[in-house]
Symmetry: C4
Subunit: 249 residues, 4 copies
Amino acid sequence: MTYIRNFLKRECDDLKSPDLWRAMCAEWLGLTFVTLFATGTGLYHKENPSSAPSSVNIALEAGFMIGCLVTVFGTISGGHVNPSITMGFAVTREITLVRSVLYIAAQSFGGICGAGLLYVLTPPGMHHGSLGLIMPGKDVTDMQALGAEAVIGFFLLFGTFAVIDKGRNDLQGSVPLMIGLMVSINVFFAFNISGGCMNPARNFGPAVITGKLDKIWLYWAGPLVGGAFGALLYDKIFSTKACRWCLGG
Amino acid sequence: MTYIRNFLKRECDDLKSPDLWRAMCAEWLGLTFVTLFATGTGLYHKENPSSAPSSVNIALEAGFMIGCLVTVFGTISGGHVNPSITMGFAVTREITLVRSVLYIAAQSFGGICGAGLLYVLTPPGMHHGSLGLIMPGKDVTDMQALGAEAVIGFFLLFGTFAVIDKGRNDLQGSVPLMIGLMVSINVFFAFNISGGCMNPARNFGPAVITGKLDKIWLYWAGPLVGGAFGALLYDKIFSTKACRWCLGG
Amino acid sequence: MTYIRNFLKRECDDLKSPDLWRAMCAEWLGLTFVTLFATGTGLYHKENPSSAPSSVNIALEAGFMIGCLVTVFGTISGGHVNPSITMGFAVTREITLVRSVLYIAAQSFGGICGAGLLYVLTPPGMHHGSLGLIMPGKDVTDMQALGAEAVIGFFLLFGTFAVIDKGRNDLQGSVPLMIGLMVSINVFFAFNISGGCMNPARNFGPAVITGKLDKIWLYWAGPLVGGAFGALLYDKIFSTKACRWCLGG
Amino acid sequence: MTYIRNFLKRECDDLKSPDLWRAMCAEWLGLTFVTLFATGTGLYHKENPSSAPSSVNIALEAGFMIGCLVTVFGTISGGHVNPSITMGFAVTREITLVRSVLYIAAQSFGGICGAGLLYVLTPPGMHHGSLGLIMPGKDVTDMQALGAEAVIGFFLLFGTFAVIDKGRNDLQGSVPLMIGLMVSINVFFAFNISGGCMNPARNFGPAVITGKLDKIWLYWAGPLVGGAFGALLYDKIFSTKACRWCLGG
């Protein structure tokens, strides 16, 4: 009973915190950029196939973008810019439930805005009927694509929780950049399997704009479930606070 | 009245500051290198099409170059090396009006020098009649190219102001390198739309040398307007000093 | 006699240390990811040859991955994630013999798990009958491949020991990222010679799953011997502690 | 007279310093790796043209390598690993004349060792008769190649002296990595003009092994002259100590 009362109090207090609305704007703006830039990087004019970008473009753009946005929005919203990151913070009780729901709503709306903006900024010959929507590769089954998205969601959240572990004092260099490199790795690995999305809101945008929603559940379920498991595994077993416990400290 | 007097005094004092002329030399030298290297990276001999660089070359060269030059010239001129960065500092009153005008003049002259130097250093078969001049992609309208340049100018300035926000103490790693990564992201995104210039002086050089000035207004207006808006938005709404105000601090 | 007793005591104490088992789990998990991601990055559907990744994908993925995993597991297991790194720590007496044997066993098992997971996650058209197994290039003799693997193992360990030298205070930025860049360099260099493996456990996985074990000794012997020599050379001749001795300090 | 006596004393003292011989070994080993890896990165089997590396491979390998070696050898020899860097330190009187001559000799011998090692490690079908020797691009005149090498030597030394300026306290992140990025930029720019060497000893090795010495003067003269000018320009005009003087400080 006290537990429920404390839980509700924490939720309500967070809802009244004056920076929540600005944080939501940051997450919305962040996902607008993530979606616009990630989808735009992959487009080329169909009559000019030699200008097609390679998977190196896609992977480096995605990683550098997350490195930059985590840096830029870090002090404003925490710099999640990915519903699976928000999910990781929610399951480890780092943020409130109400905040995680609001963040994911803002991120999803940002994804739609980013895809809409791309539609306006590019000629019809560049849309390819998909606006950069990520789909599973040739012959890849839904289960394989789901598995690949879960694996990269797991890796991203496990790694992110390791580099933001407050008990560590051995980390040098830019932590956001390290998270960005994990994103690049994930895209390199999964590019020909699931496409390497790992950010549900980024794929939600072009799916809504083009109406191709049949595979979108893969790109929501995989990263959210894999990510939640990765965050919990690090937090409960490998983190410095779990370490003190397992060592009897 | 007092406001105007203070404004003029600040402008005149800055004009007399002994490091202004050296700072202008730095901005001139910086843009000479930015233009020479950015345009040179894209050139290849037309009889040897397999040596054509990809957009990965262009994007990484541009980002690494800005990362290096902001580091190299940071203590000399502030390391703007881009008129839209100078514009961002001007509209947020970080530098004086007279300094911003002189910087942009020096940068523009540097762009011309860089393009001229490239003309001398490369054989006619590599010029392609354009010396690396950036133009909108196939079927891209002027409004779309202008919009894309405004978006990347906005992103560059918003991000730059976030990472140089003096009130933040959570930043690790190299800030200039982070700004360079934003430049790489912008090129990855806009390469097939507007070409991904975001630096008016860099495109001004080859336009002047080759005389192809008809589209050059896009590459001045887009980054300057988008950049000014991005700088103001961060400074007035998302910066740590705006934060203290919105939180009643 | 006292030497042997101390040696055995040190080995037994380490075997009883409560964090050994968690460290082994970390090395196992690390190699699962290294193998899954490194082999997966190189795969593409054979009916879609334009989606074939380039050596840039392979080299950057490998380097970024090691940079991330050394960061993530640094405080848990030391973040070796490579039997040749473990070998380097063993020959310089930084870790006990028993720990090095257990680490290499865990890493090898991780390699097999990673390759098995890739088999499950990809359609048959992407396996190419090899699951990303690294083999010597065209016309490259076994001795040349062995030599190339020994050279890159030497470079990796020599460089790693230089950047983790506790007597140095001039290092800035992320040390794990610097180790990752060495891995990328090694792949760039050896890609067309031996394939640029340098991690015996990473190649052991696909070799076991596909049964192609005839060349696998090259990828064990080369990095382990080259790496041991590189670690010893730095430790005994170039390290700051060797330096104090040679300078009579 | 006193000046000459002091000069000679400084030279002799340095010749007797106990770390000089180890520093020479480091420069020799460094250039062996620089040459082996830089030349090896560009090779592919002529019957397998799809395995040809792109200029992205060459540029990133070169930059990451210099970033790593400057880090690895920084406290042993200063981590020059390039005769034009040694020349820059010599003309600004940061090192003695005798040390600079010995370093350049050790570097040149390292270049030959690296090229010889590559010859042994690769099959004849990969040599292409050139072992990765850098030559000017199609239609590029000797003067243009010399100019391009001088420009990139200037940029490398000017930038290096800026990031190692002891009077600056605004630098974050890894300084050697920043120097490495300058190397990558130089390769991106000059790849289709002069080939982007900027390291005379690196090209000296394959030239000696293959006997193609007719263009090698370009790759000695360009970087050494351009580099010396870049080092002096930063040191005398833009450095913090020059700054104090010009500001009357």
